[in-house]
């Protein structure tokens, strides 16, 4: 079954591994992620000032194109998910703004596409039960810390992918994959996001809090669902290691990479070589590479 899919700019370049591993795992459970034939950048941030309509035209364009290829649109990157889903809500609920925006685009669109995250596809369309059945290589004994970040969850009333302050969708997924999910307090705290460009100090500190919180709670590996989180966590780790005594860096990978592995996809299609902190040794001694 084909599902219309919006990769977004980053997944076509820096985060290719995210994209590949997702397509692979999708295939393993009988989906094909059909990339939109026409798409553009979503704008990478949802404008927080409601009067800033021009910033909504880019995502609106994406949605309008998606509409031509189906009624749902699947995303992977948390930021794209956030921007598209919220823009879609505006277009659906606010006739006046819709008028202005479609005016800009010179194209009609009414917000009727359903924007879903790949996690939702697995949980709601397929069901973690089915995922469990499809597992070839259970991630036995692997302690996985799932990092949600902000954009996947907030604002809750708009995103609504999971429980406001205590989401479990990723943990449930990894339980289904046979892994041992690790809950850690900072899993829904911010990583520093775009401040990477402007204020590394803050990013190091926030990402640091995330990683130490994960490791302190026993995570052997941290998974993300957003290239920017991925980048910030990977980048900060060396510094944390140098500052916090007794801190040993852990691999940070996209959740889809472990998913693909569990579903029995070949290790080299999953882009583990692209990760800054090599996960293979860990996976090896968990006996997951044989």
């Amino acid at each position: 079954m084909k599902i219309p899919y919006y990769p977004g700019c980053t997944l076509n370049t820096v985060a290719k591994d995210f994209d590949l591993s997702a397509r692979e795992s999708a295939r393993a459970v009988g989906f094909e992620m059909a990339e939109l034939s026409q798409w553009n950048c979503c704008g990478a941030t949802f404008p927080l000032t409601p009067d800033n309509l021009i910033a909504l035209t880019a995502p609106a364009k994406v949605l309008a194109n998606a509409k031509k290829e189906g009624d749902t649109l699947t995303t992977l990157c948390s930021v794209c998910y956030n921007v598209l889903k919220r823009t879609n809500k505006v277009l659906r609920d606010d006739k006046e703004k819709r008028g202005v925006i479609t005016g800009f685009m010179e194209e009609e669109y009414d917000g009727s596409v359903e924007v879903v995250h790949f996690l939702e596809v697995l949980r709601d369309k397929l069901g973690f039960g089915k995922v469990k059945e499809a597992v070839k290589k259970p991630l036995k004994g692997l302690k996985v810390g799932s990092y949600y970040g902000c954009m996947l969850l907030r604002p809750f009333e708009d995103m609504g992918i999971d429980k406001a302050e205590s989401p479990t969708v990723m943990e449930d997924l990894f339980r289904a994959l046979g892994a041992e999910p690790v809950f850690f307090p900072n899993r829904i705290e911010c990583c520093g996001a775009h401040l990477a460009m402007d204020n590394e100090g803050i990013v190091k500190r926030l990402s640091g809090n995330v990683l130490t919180s994960a490791v302190d709670n026993g995570a052997e590996i941290v998974v993300t669902s957003c290239p920017l989180c991925q980048y910030n966590l990977e980048n900060s780790q060396s510094q944390i290691a140098s500052e916090a005594a007794g801190y040993n860096p852990v691999p940070v990978v996209y959740f889809t990479q472990l998913l693909g592995l569990a579903l029995g996809q070949s290790i080299d299609t999953l882009g583990f070589d692209k990760n800054r902190w090599d996960a293979l040794p860990l996976l090896k001694d968990k006996g997951l590479l044989s």
Binding site: A164, E165, S166, P185, D216
Partner: protein, 657 residues
């Protein structure tokens, strides 16, 4: 031809100054049907009254007009005088020529005032011609009271009514009376033990000759009206014969099965046959059927074996009793908002995050820890406890918009209890505002801070999480404008007080109003604080909104005194100003039923000899009808009229305009 008398009052100079009363009388006399018209200096004075009665008899008048002050002043006076003179009081009408004429038109030539007075008098005369003799409605009063809810509010009301010598039935849905107050350890600001002051009242209620207890029971249906309610009460099966049971406790000693204790808010387990707490009233256990293997799949049956008096009865069924009452007191109390709504505070996930009532149980000497403060997770005595106020209160987004009123005080109390029990323990309190209005309340809070060393932080907590065996609280202190992080051993949430689940359904059963938070509406927030719009039903305690024990008790007594006042006469007289249905023209569209704010209109039937329903029609219940007339204007077929304000009367007045 009617024989109408007109009495124009000069009210000293109050009217005479700007109205030519003599002229008014003369003009009145010219009207058909007016056989007598005079003006007097003071109609309300006793000479005036005598002349009034005298004239009625002498000219055998069949209707009288008094053109004088506002009917709100002396209508009653003159109507009483009428009955004194053998004339039906409702054949007397007042034309208001003082408040609404002489006093508001200062024209000394008296012209305007006189003209207007003549008009007003004329209109009233024409109206009067259509008046019918009416007699006050008499309703018999059944002098038994029903009290719904066995918390302190209900107990207080029941005791006061019983002391007043009236029969009371006290209905409680739990196995024991006592309510939330029974769970409290000490009470602010006096710090006397809650159970020590409550249990005597509970026992008194149980033993009082005039009080009948229905525990483990719920009100299902309410019919009738003030003085005459018929109520269906479901007595849930206890599986224990109350007559035989001696409360010896063998059964719950021996029962091998356990379930989380509702009374201890899950902090401990109770047996499956149980009384909620040691001082339970009545001291008779109930079997928690869903958890009992005997009742579910006929296994065990130990309690039956060990029961000396053979009181256990697995076959027992729910029992529905119907009783008659003259008045009802609603005292159903409150619940705490489920904190699961506040994921960021980890309630339900983090065992050492508890709510206010759970802390009360920890602090209570009859509680699961025997009054020693131990945290639920590992029984360790907490070296520091963080108390978070306004959890759900004053929170439009995730909670309720209102202030729960008692949290500021009980949190201060908690910090004191904690300090008294854990000498070197440190209490932290996150507050937004401290609301300590009340006798010795502010001093009490200051005491917690200055004497018992509680650290008060002005700010809200953003999140609570676990870190190696500690509960980390991350919040702000806006006064030092800094983020604060506290590694505590336990966190206590002062969660919002909310109305009982099902409060709305009960309100609908009773026909009383409730607000958007499902708290019950008093008739008037200031002047009728314990009455409801439904005559004969009274309110008491937190079913109306958050309040503390003193207020609740005061309201219990207030409601009781209202009931006793109602019961002081065998019959209650009501103004005959009620709606009347014309059975010939009513076409049963039920618009009136919808319009009536008092649900005073019932759907009635006409039957033929065989008893088959031939047609439906509306029937007004004089006991409930307050005579607002809304139904009259709503009626399509003009089949309802309002006695004292009939269409005829009103049109007569308009036509005389």
């Amino acid at each position: 031809m009617p024989r109408i008398g007109v009495f124009v009052c000069q009210c000293g100079n109050n009217i005479a100054d700007t109205v030519d009363t003599k002229k008014v009388a003369e003009e009145a006399k010219k009207l058909p049907g007016v056989v007598y018209a005079e003006d007097f200096k003071f109609m309300c004075s006793s000479p005036g009254q005598d002349a009034f009665r005298e004239a009625i008899r002498k000219h055998n008048l069949d209707g009288v007009i008094v053109s004088a002050c506002s009917p709100h002043m002396h209508e009653k006076t003159f109507r009483r005088a009428c009955s004194g003179a053998g004339l039906n009081p409702y054949k007397c009408e007042i034309a208001n020529i003082r408040e609404q004429c002489s006093w508001v038109h200062h024209d000394k030539t008296k012209e305007t005032g006189t003209v207007k007075s003549i008009d007003l008098t004329r209109m009233t005369i024409e109206r009067l011609k259509k008046n019918r003799a009416l007699s006050t409605v008499k309703i018999p009063v059944n002098k038994r009271a029903l009290v719904i809810g066995g918390g302190i509010a209900g107990i207080q009301a029941a005791l006061d009514i019983a002391e007043g010598g009236r029969q009371v039935v006290l209905v409680e849905k739990e196995p024991s009376i006592g309510g939330n107050m029974a769970k409290l350890s000490e009470t602010f600001p006096t710090m006397d033990c809650s159970q020590c002051i409550l249990t005597p009242k509970m026992v008194e209620a149980e033993l009082h000759d005039n009080i009948k207890l229905y525990t483990y029971s719920e009100v299902e249906k309410v019919d009738g009206y003030i003085g005459n309610f018929t109520v269906q009460i479901r007595k849930k099966a206890k599986y224990v014969n109350e007559e035989l049971c001696t409360g010896c406790g063998e059964c719950w000693e021996k029962c091998p099965f356990k379930a989380p204790s509702e009374f201890e808010h899950g902090l401990s387990k109770r047996k499956v046959i149980y009384t909620p707490f040691p001082q339970a009233v009545p001291n008779i256990p109930v079997i928690d059927a869903p958890n009992c293997p005997k009742i579910q799949k006929d296994k065990c049956g130990l309690c039956e074996k060990v029961c000396g008096p053979k009181a256990i009865d697995y076959k027992q069924k729910d029992q529905v009793v119907t009783e008659e009452f003259g008045a009802i007191v609603v005292a159903t109390g409150y619940e705490l908002m489920p904190n699961e709504r506040f994921g960021e505070y980890g309630y339900g996930r983090i065992p050492d995050v508890i709510n206010g009532l759970q802390f009360e149980r920890l602090a209570s000497s009859s509680g699961p820890t025997g009054g020693r403060i131990k945290r639920p997770s590992d029984g360790k005595v907490p070296e520091s406890v963080v108390f978070i106020q306004c959890v759900g209160s004053r929170d439009e987004k995730k909670g309720v918009s209102y202030c729960s009123k008692v949290c500021c005080m009980y949190t201060a109390k908690h910090t004191k209890l904690y300090r008294h029990k854990v000498q070197d323990g440190q209490a932290y309190v996150f507050y937004m505002d401290i609301r300590s209005g009340g006798k010795r309340y502010e001093e009490f809070v200051r005491g917690a801070i200055e004497h018992d060393g509680a650290m008060y932080l002005r700010g809200r907590v953003s999140r609570v999480y676990e870190r190696d065996g500690k509960v980390v609280v991350q919040g702000a202190d806006t006064l030092s404008d800094s983020q604060v992080e506290i590694e505590a051993d336990m966190v206590v949430l002062a969660t919002a007080i909310v109305s009982r689940t099902g409060a709305d359904t009960l309100a609908q059963t009773l026909g009383i109003g409730y607000d958007k938070h499902k708290f019950y509406n008093e008739y008037h927030p200031k002047l009728k604080p314990v009455e409801t719009v439904t005559a004969g039903i009274f309110l008491s305690g937190t079913c109306m909104g958050p309040m503390d024990i003193p207020e609740t008790v005061a309201q219990g007594s207030a409601a009781a005194s209202k009931v006793l006042a109602l019961f002081s006469a065998d019959e209650m007289a009501r103004e005959p100003i009620t709606a009347l249905v014309n059975t010939m023209t009513c076409n049963a569209c039920w618009d009136c039923v919808v319009a009536c704010p008092y649900s005073a209109i019932e759907k009635d039937t006409v039957k033929d000899r065989q008893g088959n329903v031939v047609r439906w029609l509306a029937k007004v219940n004089d006991g409930v009808c307050t005579g607002c007339g809304t139904c009259v204007a709503a009626c399509r077929s003009k089949a309802i009229d309002l006695k004292g304000y009939t269409d005829e009367q009103v049109y007569a007045a308009i036509n005389a305009f």
